[in-house]
Amino acid sequence: MISYRNILCSAVAAAALLAGPALAEDKPAALGVGVFSFTSGGTAAYGKPGRDAAELMIERINAKGGIGGVPLSATYVDEGQGTEGVIAEYRKLAGDAATEVMIAALSSGNCMALAPVSDQMKVPTVGWNCDTHQLYLKDAHPYFFRPNGNTVPEFVAYAAYLIAVKPDVKRIAIINPDYAFGHDAAKIFTTAIKAFKPDVEVVAELFPKLGAGTYQTEISRLTAARPDVIFSNLWGGDLENFVRQASPRGLFRSSQAVLALGESSMQNVQIPEGVIVGVLGDGWWMSPDAAANPETREFAEAYKAKYGKWPVFPAMKMANSFLYVQAAYDKAMAGNGGKWPSRDEVAAAMKGSEVKTLTGTMQTRADNDGVVDQIIGVTAKADGHDGPVIGDMVRYKGADLMPPAGEDPIAWIGTLSADLPTKLPQPGSYK
């Protein structure tokens, strides 16, 4: 039976909710966040950890009293419904004043489609996982922020690491997924390698389609090409299938493998020791910086307890995006005397912000792209941890590998000096 007291309480709460938007300077009952991620289709391999991390972060932030005393309330949108559906949902949420900020999106295609919409509707939007370097190349997007950084430093870092550990590399092969991300990475990696060591030869360049499932033909081609190094930015189920099929055929014994998104699959498939892996940024929850931060440790433990796995880097990217939003609100409120900030004030606070994340510090550049450190290492075993870890780590400063804003990034990579890898921190220096 429902008591009158309960009804009265809900009525008062409802009235408070209705009155919320009317008094613009008062704090709202909840801070609405639109969170966009893949929760259907193969891409959910990254979308689900992102979504899980979002739920956990909201829980943790709200347990500490929310942002400026206001609890977060998320609306989740599935990017698996296609770009049109994603834009429709975004517009719907943006039209509702209760949704004050967006964390969108995972896919680069969706970020490129949403960025102009965010400018049009003037909603501060945080790109949490998309990393195409095309995003800010042609147009400025004053309301779209990407603390996640872009593909250029991500893949130049692998070239630098590889040259540092294998200076005599001659023949490289590439196997990447057949869409913009795979082609971009191939271009960036080979351009960087050739800048560092001009006599390197690309002996095979394979682009199996996304979700191919079987890679036997590609593995045969790779074996026949006898490369010193195999570079791949396959990810999710694709990467796991590739590793499962390539391991028994000895591919990882005959060539040094570089699996750029390897960390996210380490808990699902056994990647042999000594494979170069990384996290496309600094989002490795066990890195020395992360380990020194009690918040990160707590987050990782809570994540493991709740979802049964350690947080992979897409989860860390999502968690860091929430800290980015929180920092913007704190900054905006500090700037206007503790009043609740408008969407514009939040966007203004994000502009140029430097944010301490769970895994390091990121700097928002003038064009709203993020400058993030890059962590790379090799798969290893460690005492006291049941899963595989990353050893021989290096942490490159994001600024060292980021092309200047407005410059053609591929041309910029070509101008890198051959001795750059020797000037950067060396593998194993980050411990």
């Binding site: 599935d78 834009i87 429709a88 943006a94 295609g109 095309q134 869409y179």
Partner: protein, 310 residues
């Protein structure tokens, strides 16, 4: 004629809905854009031909708009629609001249094949088409006026309604013309038509060109609404989507494809807003329509007449 007040009522309802829920403007503009393409598919269905490749003309219209804006600096909305219409019509006639020689599964598969070739070209010619990340489409101008993005979205919604009405009237007139009647006759008995001295290929080519034109116009509206074009627009599942929309709405009248498109977009939006298992809700809704309304949604309001197809 009871259809006129019904159609007027439906359009008033569309406009009223966007006043109540402003975010519906985008969803409905997109629904009309897809409805135009589905109407093109419905024309071919009337001739007994099923095309599982019509998303290619949708994509041709969309990319024509994107290229015209990026490479030729054309920004006027009417010029863009005209250019995309001409390009998709020409593409339709060229491809049509080849595929109307085939019937049934061969026609369907050839369309599918050509559309997938286009999809691959759009995805692979990275430097030109932007690859799988697609191309941006800015906000066009209207007769020299620079509208704000929001104002333009509203303009485009009304322009789409106007296009829907014009297309509906034109296709209706076409169906009643000798060429249109001959199209239905192809479905019934092609040989008899030849004996009557009517060139079947010519009849089908006109139908194919017209359907490509409609799909292309739908594509340009979609490109301008979304502000972004992607190779996925030409993917075979999108072609299947158009056939589904046409059959779902009903192919016995002009309104069917638009009703089908609006229904599917709305169910999709509402279901995706409720649960991650939105696919299941959309699927259940489709099954419901197929089981209980074999004539399509339009069967609700339009009584079956003798001689109706499908």
């Amino acid at each position: 004629m009871p259809l006129l007040p019904l159609a007027t009522g439906a359009i008033i309802a569309l406009v009223a809905a966007t006043f109540a829920f402003p975010w519906l403007e985008f969803v409905l503009t997109l629904a009309i854009a897809k409805g135009l393409a589905a109407l093109g598919v419905a024309i071919l269905l009337r001739g007994g031909l099923i095309s599982i490749g019509h998303a290619m003309f949708f994509a041709i219209g969309a990319y024509a708009t994107a290229f015209a804006m990026r490479d030729f600096g054309i920004t006027d909305v009417f010029a863009l629609i005209l250019i995309s219409a001409i390009i998709s019509l020409v593409a339709g006639l060229l491809i049509g001249a080849f595929v109307v020689r085939y019937r049934a599964i061969f026609f369907a598969m050839l369309n599918l094949a050509i559309s997938m070739v286009l999809f691959s070209l759009l995805s692979k010619f990275y430097g030109v088409t932007g690859g799988t990340d697609g191309l941006r489409v800015g906000t066009p101008t209207v007769l020299g006026m620079v509208l704000e993005a929001k104002g333009f979205a509203t303009f485009l919604f009304y322009a789409a309604i106007a296009a829907m009405v014009l297309a509906g009237l034109a296709v209706n007139a076409y169906f009643k013309s000798p060429l249109g009647e001959a199209l239905s006759a192809v479905h019934t008995n092609e040989i008899r038509l030849e004996y009557l001295g009517i060139p079947v290929r010519g009849v089908l080519l006109v139908a194919y060109g017209l359907s490509a034109l409609l799909a292309g116009i739908g594509g340009t509206f979609a490109a301008m609404t979304i502000g972004h074009v992607l190779p996925d627009m030409a993917y075979w599942t999108d072609s299947g989507h158009l056939v589904l929309v046409a059959v779902l709405g009903g192919i016995s009248g002009i309104g069917g494809p638009f009703v089908g498109a609006a229904f599917l977009e709305l169910v999709h939006t509402l279901a995706a807003g409720v649960t991650d298992a939105w696919n299941m809700i959309v699927g259940a809704a489709l099954l419901g329509v197929i089981f209980f309304l074999p004539k399509g949604l339009i069967g609700f309001i339009r009584p079956t007449k003798k001689g109706d197809l499908a």
